[in-house]
Subunit: 354 residues, 5 copies
Amino acid sequence: MSKQVKKLHSRAGSVPGSLIHIGTRKAEHVRISVIDYDSENLEEKILPSIDQIYPYLDTESVSWINIDGLHDTDVFAELGEKLDLHPLLLEDVLDTSQRPKIDNYGKHLFIIMKMVTWDEKEKTLEFEQVSFILGDNYIISVQEHIGDIFENVRQRIRNDRSRIRKMGIDYLLYALLDAAVDCYFLLLNNLGDQIENIEDELVLEPGPEILATIHHLKRDILVLRKSVWHLRPVIANLYREDYGTITTEVQTFLRDLHDNTIQVIDTIETYRDMISGMMDIYLSSISNRMNQVMKVLTIFAAIFIPLTFFAGVYGMNFNFMPELDWKWAYPVWWLLIIVITVIMILFFKKKKWL
Amino acid sequence: MSKQVKKLHSRAGSVPGSLIHIGTRKAEHVRISVIDYDSENLEEKILPSIDQIYPYLDTESVSWINIDGLHDTDVFAELGEKLDLHPLLLEDVLDTSQRPKIDNYGKHLFIIMKMVTWDEKEKTLEFEQVSFILGDNYIISVQEHIGDIFENVRQRIRNDRSRIRKMGIDYLLYALLDAAVDCYFLLLNNLGDQIENIEDELVLEPGPEILATIHHLKRDILVLRKSVWHLRPVIANLYREDYGTITTEVQTFLRDLHDNTIQVIDTIETYRDMISGMMDIYLSSISNRMNQVMKVLTIFAAIFIPLTFFAGVYGMNFNFMPELDWKWAYPVWWLLIIVITVIMILFFKKKKWL
Amino acid sequence: MSKQVKKLHSRAGSVPGSLIHIGTRKAEHVRISVIDYDSENLEEKILPSIDQIYPYLDTESVSWINIDGLHDTDVFAELGEKLDLHPLLLEDVLDTSQRPKIDNYGKHLFIIMKMVTWDEKEKTLEFEQVSFILGDNYIISVQEHIGDIFENVRQRIRNDRSRIRKMGIDYLLYALLDAAVDCYFLLLNNLGDQIENIEDELVLEPGPEILATIHHLKRDILVLRKSVWHLRPVIANLYREDYGTITTEVQTFLRDLHDNTIQVIDTIETYRDMISGMMDIYLSSISNRMNQVMKVLTIFAAIFIPLTFFAGVYGMNFNFMPELDWKWAYPVWWLLIIVITVIMILFFKKKKWL
Amino acid sequence: MSKQVKKLHSRAGSVPGSLIHIGTRKAEHVRISVIDYDSENLEEKILPSIDQIYPYLDTESVSWINIDGLHDTDVFAELGEKLDLHPLLLEDVLDTSQRPKIDNYGKHLFIIMKMVTWDEKEKTLEFEQVSFILGDNYIISVQEHIGDIFENVRQRIRNDRSRIRKMGIDYLLYALLDAAVDCYFLLLNNLGDQIENIEDELVLEPGPEILATIHHLKRDILVLRKSVWHLRPVIANLYREDYGTITTEVQTFLRDLHDNTIQVIDTIETYRDMISGMMDIYLSSISNRMNQVMKVLTIFAAIFIPLTFFAGVYGMNFNFMPELDWKWAYPVWWLLIIVITVIMILFFKKKKWL
Amino acid sequence: MSKQVKKLHSRAGSVPGSLIHIGTRKAEHVRISVIDYDSENLEEKILPSIDQIYPYLDTESVSWINIDGLHDTDVFAELGEKLDLHPLLLEDVLDTSQRPKIDNYGKHLFIIMKMVTWDEKEKTLEFEQVSFILGDNYIISVQEHIGDIFENVRQRIRNDRSRIRKMGIDYLLYALLDAAVDCYFLLLNNLGDQIENIEDELVLEPGPEILATIHHLKRDILVLRKSVWHLRPVIANLYREDYGTITTEVQTFLRDLHDNTIQVIDTIETYRDMISGMMDIYLSSISNRMNQVMKVLTIFAAIFIPLTFFAGVYGMNFNFMPELDWKWAYPVWWLLIIVITVIMILFFKKKKWL
């Protein structure tokens, strides 16, 4: 069963707004990195503790703080206190069973989304929750573990002629979201290959194990669909509603991102339909094979059972059976047997069973 | 059949607004308890009769009256008269076949919801109706029997440094609703385990009894889905509409609760899809097994029926059968039999039936 | 096929607004009864002809005229002329193939609904159309035949301390609608019992006749669903729109009635899902039984066909067969047979076919 | 395949607004008839050529011009020029693959709808496109061929005491639409009879040909549904939107017509559900029959294969078989055979296969 | 697998707004052609390089620049710079995995749509992306390769009495869109023929290969449906929203085009339903054939297995078997055999298996 589903109950019974990390501990220690830039300057650092981030937040320049690892709740408790974050916001950051959503807490805009990768070893989808806390001049992004999906964005920031350096905090948010949505494109490609493999296998001799493969793929796509389904309105919301921090120029980029999300959803729907079509084909291939088995049985039975009867006839011990004494009886009997066999074979040929 | 469905008709024919308890009598006697608190003081009591609650209702402090047991309609008749409750409101409190809903009766806000637990003995869902009557400074909560789902809330009230003590009647309502929604998380966990068990069993040799298990699970999820489906708009209503008693601060918490409800619905939908996928697998596993049976039959028949024919041939009593007198006839016959058998086995090997 | 569906065409080709009774003649003669009351006085009468109702209509008191039987179109022609009813309104009253609807003809509010009962003899649903014409101080209710579903309302009117005597024409309308909706609750109970019976039968040995039962039940629920589906918006309309005659107080009651209708719809949907689940179980039980039959066949064939072959071997007449002359050959042969049989039985035990 | 679908491509590649008749030529020559009336006068004529209609259009009285036959595009070219009709309007009149729609071209209101009849010879639905061009005092109706569906309306016009004579052009439009909708009622009745026949046949021994019948019926209802589905909003539009020519009085009639259309849709939906239920029954009846065949086979095989073995045993030629010499061996053998047979029969009786 | 789906990931990881051609290189070199016309003059040219188009853009006359081939990104980079096109607009032009959409970039209206043709060789759908950039007096249309779908429009432009010459840039846009939508009509016709062929084959002896054909057709229609589904709102948007460049007169034409799109969607839906019906027929035809096979087997087995038993009886070697010595025993035995056979045949005739 998907891990997504299984962490649900850990929160049941806890006080609302309490800081509990729900999910598997994925990172060894919490890593805090900061990139602070404007069109001319760039500073990039790994910080040893959370209280060193505050100087960056007040600057005019764009500050991106990235926190990898969720298990050290003290870090978030301090962060929450200093930045005056709502307790529910923090609870959501730490609870990795959240669905994608956007909440406006006045001072902060809070976005949760899911990134997804294919775990080749376990042959299953691997979800990671990413949260963005958008303040006036800073973004705090929180990931479950150290990953490389934002590396591309960092590269672009380091290049001082790139568009990202010339624009504000809202374009950075767009760039991060865009990087996260890119994961889905990569994954879809992977799933597309899997579907193609299964289709190829279905044409050959599909065994019962293909059913399990189809079933798993179906479930993966089910879970994936749910995750993107909630992502779309988050992005739509971001470019349609009037959040002060998003400029019109960036809204155009967000609309484009929105289009990409719809494209992901479309592809997932197509995959879903394809898989359910494959199920039909598999089922009818079972029926077809049953038909084959039945035909073999019927051909053997229908040819040899009558023959056995005719052999039985002349194995009878009646004292008065004139045929037994006739000299040509035995060869004629064989002739009869051959004729019957040929007739049966022609009959089955006509029925197209042979 | 689900008990939910079966109590419908008892109300047919009765005068609208009449106080009839519809449902099974679950509690021995009606128990009335009261908790009255503000940030500094706390009073907790079990009351012997309903008329002792009135002093608490007029105080400035937050008063939570909890009534366990529905069968004593006199209690509710008196309550209704004193607090000037609408007859339809009281009818709904007593009729346990209601769906979750929120009604604004001007003076009172009235909320009905369902809690659900898993009855391990009967292997079925157990629904309990909980009603909340929200007045200016008091909440009257009515349960079908004495339970412990609100115990957690009581603990938090007793702790005089908890957030609940600093806030008003609306936060208490939120805390109670939150406690009730928590039941669903616990239940979903239980159902998730059941689904996992069935999936494991499906991989092994699934017997016909697994069909009944799947069918029951499907029905449980059907009923559960209906109940949460109606719960979501109740909570949405509560935080979106402008009921005087709900402050903005608590609305944020209610929005979070709303998110939790959507998460429950999502999980139920995922379970539903999983179960219908399991049904498909079960059906195709029946077909696969039929295929197996057919193959065994066909192999036996196709090998031994021809052999029997050849035995029959030399059991015939024709006077003139030259083979019978040949000395090596019998061993050669056996050789022939063995060759035929080997050919058949190779044929079935090639068809991958062996 | 449902009778509902079959009366459609009788209206095709007729002039719009013409008074034709479409449906089966269900009553011997038209019966006209009147109840005229206010909080103090009550008059109840059976009227010999339609023109005697007019004095009651102009009084201040609440007047409820009930007409049973539709076939005498003259009665309705006269009624239409005197009360200035729209020709289409009258056409709809007489055409029993209407769906539930509410039409505002300015002077009159016109409501059509369907009552439904279970015809135990014909094992089918029996629909009856009821129309309400709401004037300033009167309601004219028209039924297809004399029934007792409004008897309960009459009882309450006769009791001079009941709420109905203190309220106006709108509450009477509510009471009548409520009585009609009560029919559905009774029916659902009946259908619930039928579903339970079928479920019990499915666990035992289901024969092909159960398929027909499921099919009929499914069709009944289909027709029923359509009828309630149209009823819900009628009632919703009544309490939401601002029709002058409906007071706020009665709107609360109508909202409650609306909730009941939703409960009926919910239950019907649940039944629908249950029945489609039962169909799946039936189909897989056929497959399971086919599996059983196949197993019996395979066990018999796989055990006895090889044995017959071994009997055939020693029935051959070769002159040189050393075994035939060996003294212990026959008992050893039997031993062989028994060993083979035991092996086969163990083989099938291992495959869990036995 | 439905003819509806097949004429699509003829328009591909043509200039928009060009006058091409798309569809089968159904009438020998174009027939133009006119009825011009007010409450006192009535003139009815068949016109030899299109230019004779213009005098009628300018009169105060209601003029109804009916054109049967579409293939003579010159007629429509001239009509278009004289009345200043939009080229797209004329293109739509001639293209019989249009779906029902209403277009407001300012000066003219343009309505396209489909009439449908059952072609008893070809056992298929026959669609005919009817267009209405509504001017100030005239309606031009265009049909594909000469039919009698408007005959009923003509009769009512000829009767000088009928409602239609007292009312304006809008009521005539309603009367024509109503006559066209009546076709659907007649057709539904026909389809209802067909469904009933199939249901009766399904109870008896359904052969494979019934599958084709169900399939065709399903496709007919599919096409029919699409056609009515588009008709409903056309009529809704007509009574809801404020087109100058439609008076309030006629809007009431149109609302009633709208109700009839919904009734048609409802019935079609019911038929659809019934047919898909019939498909299920047919499929499970195949399975049931397969079960029957299997049982017969198994009973024969399971009884006679063991018996044959026991016959084979005493056909063996071992020299030392003590039973052979025993005097009662043969009758005892028969006894054994009978006992085995009885046991088998009892076994199958217990399994309810006999 | 459809190629549509497979090019998705190439964009993952790239900087938003960067010019990368995503898709297969379909044209050898980029061809740029221009048609510049008003009601009196017409100039038509093939341009060697992109910078020669600028003189045409500033003229009062209507200019249509058509670019075939996407791989030379320099062309588009220069175009973008000169016309001040938004980087995202250019990215979308080059990325052929876009869905149909309309974007308003203020200065330019940007429309993407898909044309589709049937690739007879590969037996698959071939999609081509077409983009339109609408400026004040010019349209730039971009195609993936040189095609002839706009040839028809060019012909009409060359004819100086055609409507297109008298109208503005908006009518040209309409004409181009109309030409692109015409592709779908042609394709639908082709698909319709395929469906008809499959239906004919299904009536005859359908083999397993027909399943693959149905499956492919289903997938094609799935992909096609998605493409038109997104096209409809694009056109609806164009005639409903108030884009300055679209005149009321052309809006009427666009509404007509919108109707055509709906007709395409309708037909696709009908095809979808037909195909899923064909799947059902195929599956039940497999079951029917299995039934046939089983019947043949059962008839042979049920007739000859008892006969073989009776032959076996008189092959027994009991010393005392009175029948063996009776003179008429052998002919009487044959009589018995014939009687049994006839009875069995009558039995199967009665069961309608013969």
